[in-house]
């Protein structure tokens, strides 16, 4: 019964999304019916949210109560699974994850409607675009990925969830990433709406869509950090980023969203880059859609590709073409009416933001080609190849490095006309910090790496400049700190990446009881393996004593787990951190006679990778908070911008 309720709710949501699209576009005009249409569109947006939430709730209920008459539940859940993973199982499969996608889209539509930023007509047009997007995804769900399909007869027990996905980090990872992916749809809708409405909307939209850009960017930052952290502690390789196509699929929207945040700021503050910001808003959401296509269509084989159904891939591909083609068509149609951006001097903040955008888009292009080239080659019957990390180290890394090198100058230059020499004078202490960081790395660290010294110099440069920026803005609004915080976060992450990549030590031993091994400064004694019983798995748990002389300082317990319901096994790593360095243990295979392989890593500064991500996200949150507090003064500001 509940399954049918959910399906009915999805059908109602589809109908309302169509109403939303129609009334939204009517409401964008200045005709006699427009005010009435605008009344309808808000109601339709809220109605859609209610029905999609109902469908999602119904599906969640089916998972929690283990209703195996629903195919998706039977294929992806199990009665013995802990409650939290029954709930996260809702989006741990293709059908449910698409319902989550539409739920997030509806939430954003609701938020666009509730905040009503940028005036009635702009909001109405943006909601119209959101309605079209929702309709397309609801059609996709109902025709190719219905989550409420029944099984007859219903099995007594479910097939379980991929154990890799049974993890607190990964339970939160998809909703976070979706909040980012789909959040870019709001910027996309506002950009399209600005093109539809025309006139002054072409500068107002950047201000109106700013909170949505920020939310999307914060969520993407957190989502990527969570995914990378999960890969680090779950996969047992000690790595934090593998340049896997699935990871790249989340990195590309982040790069474009970052470019958009900077470009739209210039559009809003000085009127520069008007057309470019519109294109970036379209490009950012396009990257989200392409990411969804890569991850969900099954062209990639990974934990994320839940099923390989050509119909789904084809549908998403058509959707991508319609969305991107439609938006670009709209852009081309409106291009003659678009006003050029305001002029600026060569030495100005705009120039720095321009360089920021050039580097970000170029680095995104590197990732894009590296990700899609093997797929394209395979699709056209060529060789099967893969593009490895060395490609990204040679292309992405130097471009991103150049971006970081120039970053501190931007905030020190004035809009329209700045003074680079004066900015460099202000930043002198940061340059000093950079030199100290580089020198101390060369003196202290062993082995010595010039790249390491360079990375720490840039990190010192970034963090030092952020501190100077903070001191200069003392007493200013909270949101003024946001940029400094986000940029400092980049420096922190850079230190973590450099430390882990360059100075990681590694040991691989086959150990019997009582034997010891050393890795970096640590000595470990192997005290054997015990068999443990988890709620839905059996584990071989190794006991490794961390020795301090003859004293046992701590016991680490990496595990190998077997999930009988799913017929899978996986490693569970043990990580001991002091905030500056991780000792990382993974249990390998049983070599007989109580001997097991044990892999150990010492990763200096590893926690900084994710700490930096957190600091960046915090910067975003601060900026968002400042923005929403300013909301009351928005109409006045918008009127001023329109003059």
């Amino acid at each position: 019964m509940t399954g049918e309720l959910g399906q009915l709710a999805l059908c109602f949501a589809l109908a309302l999304s169509l109403v939303m699209a129609l009334s939204g576009f009517l409401g964008a005009g200045t005709k006699a019916v427009s005010p009435a249409a605008r009344g309808i569109v808000h109601g339709a947006a809220m109605g859609m949210l209610v029905f999609v939430a109902l469908a999602f709730g119904t599906l969640t209920y089916a998972f929690v109560t283990s209703d195996f008459s629903i195919a998706v539940v039977a294929n992806n859940s199990h009665t013995l699974k802990p409650l939290v993973y029954k709930i996260s199982g809702v989006w741990g499969n293709h059908e449910g994850s698409m319902v989550l996608w539409v739920l997030v889209l509806s939430l954003y539509a609701g938020l666009v409607s509730a905040l009503g930023r940028g005036g009635e007509r702009l909001t109405s047009a943006a909601l119209g675009v959101q309605g079209l997007l929702a309709a397309a995804f609801l059609l996709f769900i109902l025709f190719t990925s219905n989550p409420f399909l029944r099984l007859d007869p219903a099995p007594f027990e479910g097939a379980g969830l991929n154990p890799l996905l049974q993890d607190p980090g990964l339970a939160m990872h998809p909703p976070m990433l979706y909040a980012g992916y789909v959040g870019l749809s709001a910027s996309f809708s506002y950009a399209a709406a600005a093109l539809i409405v025309g006139e002054d909307a072409q500068t107002i939209w950047a201000r109106a869509a700013r909170p949505f850009m920020l939310i999307a960017w914060i969520a993407l930052t957190c989502g990527i950090a969570l995914g990378s952290w999960w890969a680090y502690y779950e996969l047992g390789w000690g790595g934090f980023w593998f340049w896997d196509p699935v990871e790249n699929a989340s990195l590309m929207p982040w790069l474009i969203a970052t470019a958009l945040l900077h470009s739209a700021l210039a559009t809003e503050k000085s009127g520069a880059f008007r057309t470019w910001s519109l294109l970036l808003a379209i490009g950012g959401f396009s990257m989200s859609l392409i990411g969804t296509f890569l991850v969900r269509s099954g062209v990639l084989s990974s934990v994320h590709a839940f099923a390989s159904d050509p119909a789904r891939g084809f549908f998403i591909m058509v959707l991508i073409f319609c969305a991107i083609g439609g938006a670009l068509g709209l852009f081309a149609w409106r291009a003659p009416t678009l006003k050029g951006g305001a002029a600026f001097d060569t030495q100005s903040r705009e120039t720095m933001l321009l360089l920021n955008n050039v580097f970000l888009v170029a680095s995104c292009a590197c990732v894009f080609v590296g990700t899609l080239y093997p797929l394209a080659l395979d699709a056209f019957g060529g060789d099967k190849i893969s593009v490895g990390p060395p490609y990204y180290a040679a292309t992405f890394a130097p471009i991103f490095f150049a971006l970081l090198l120039l970053e501190p100058l931007g905030p020190q230059l004035n809009w329209r006309r700045g003074d680079v020499k004066a900015a460099l004078r202000t930043l002198m202490p940061a340059l000093g910090l950079a030199a100290i960081a580089a020198l101390s790395v060369l003196v202290i660290a062993s082995p010595r790496f010039v790249t390491g010294a360079g990375a720490f110099a840039v990190a010192g440069w970034l963090i030092g400049a952020s501190v100077i920026d903070l001191l200069k803005r003392k007493g200013a609004r909270a949101s003024a700190f946001a940029a400094a915080l986000a940029h400092a976060g980049l420096g922190v992450t850079l230190m973590g990446v450099a430390g882990t990549t360059l100075w990681r030590s590694e040991a691989l031993n086959v150990m019997g009881p009582g034997e010891t091994m050393t890795v970096g400064p640590y000595t470990l004694r192997f005290d054997g393996v015990t068999q443990e019983q988890g709620p839905n798995y059996r584990a071989s748990r190794a006991h490794l004593a961390l020795m301090d002389g003859s004293q046992v300082k701590a016991v680490l317990t990496p595990e190998q787990r077997i999930y009988p319901a799913e017929g899978q096994d996986m490693a569970d790593t043990a990580i001991r951190t002091n905030g500056f360095e991780d000792l990382y243990l993974a249990l390998g295979d049983d070599r007989g006679n109580g001997r097991w392989t044990v892999r150990a890593y010492v990763s200096p500064l590893a926690p900084f990778i994710w700490l930096g991500g957190l600091v960046m996200a915090l910067g975003g949150i601060l900026s968002l908070w400042g923005r929403l507090r300013l909301k009351a003064s928005l109409p006045a500001a918008a009127a001023q911008a329109a003059e």
């Binding site: 195996f68 195919a71 039977a74 294929n75 992806n76 499969n93 099984l151 099995p155 479910g158 097939a159 991929n162 890799l164 996969l235 047992g236 099954g298 084989s301 934990v303 590709a305 839940f306 099923a307 390989s308 002029a343 050039v358 170029a362 292009a365 590197c366 080609v369 590296g370 080239y373 093997p374 060789d383 099967k384 190849i385 893969s386 593009v387 490895g388 060395p390 490609y391 040679a394 292309t395 691989l508 031993n509 086959v510 190998q560 017929g567 899978q568 096994d569 996986m570 490693a571 993974a586 390998g588 295979d589 070599r591 392989t597 892999r599």
Partner: protein, 157 residues
């Protein structure tokens, strides 16, 4: 030409030059850093040069897995037509089994042995890497339904 126009022209020229440099760099690096996928019969018929990294895929031959000193491991990869001996020093993925599909990254040495630097973990016992399926199909040793893709089978299987 007004100064504004001249600036625009200079900007456009710089952008085109940068774009060209980027494209050239990407194409060059792609050529340097792509790893091909090879099956054992590919190696038998068209000798792969030693020292060039590639992905080797196939089935782990039954009873071919031997543990050496320390973490050393040897096994044989087959696709029914050819076999390649593999050396590896490391931890095997949890789902490594004789008779099952495997993908390894590494290079041939002068003795005709594949020295693996990485044996890829696949996360599902029913799962067969698509490259391996392809290789088995080409060598005529693929059995339909033998190894379906993840989650495509029914809940009772």
């Amino acid at each position: 030409m007004t100064p504004k126009k001249r600036r625009r022209l200079a900007f456009a020229a710089a952008l085109i030059a940068a774009g060209g440099a980027l494209a050239a760099g990407i194409i060059y690096e792609l050529g340097q850093n792509t790893q091909y996928f090879r099956s054992p019969s590919d190696i038998a018929t068209n000798k792969v040069a030693p020292g060039i990294a590639f992905h080797l895929g196939g089935l782990v031959e039954e009873k071919s897995l031997h543990h050496g000193a320390g973490a050393d491991i040897t096994f044989t990869v087959t696709d029914g037509k050819g076999t390649v001996p593999v050396e590896y020093n490391g931890v095997l993925p949890a789902l490594f089994r004789e008779g099952q599909g495997v993908v390894a990254l590494g290079a041939m040495n002068a003795q005709g042995t594949f020295v693996a630097t990485e044996v890829l973990a696949k996360h599902d016992e029913k799962y067969m890497p698509p490259e391996v399926v392809d290789a088995l199909k080409r060598s005529g040793h693929w059995q339909e339904g033998g190894a379906p893709s993840p989650k495509s089978s029914g809940p009772n299987s």
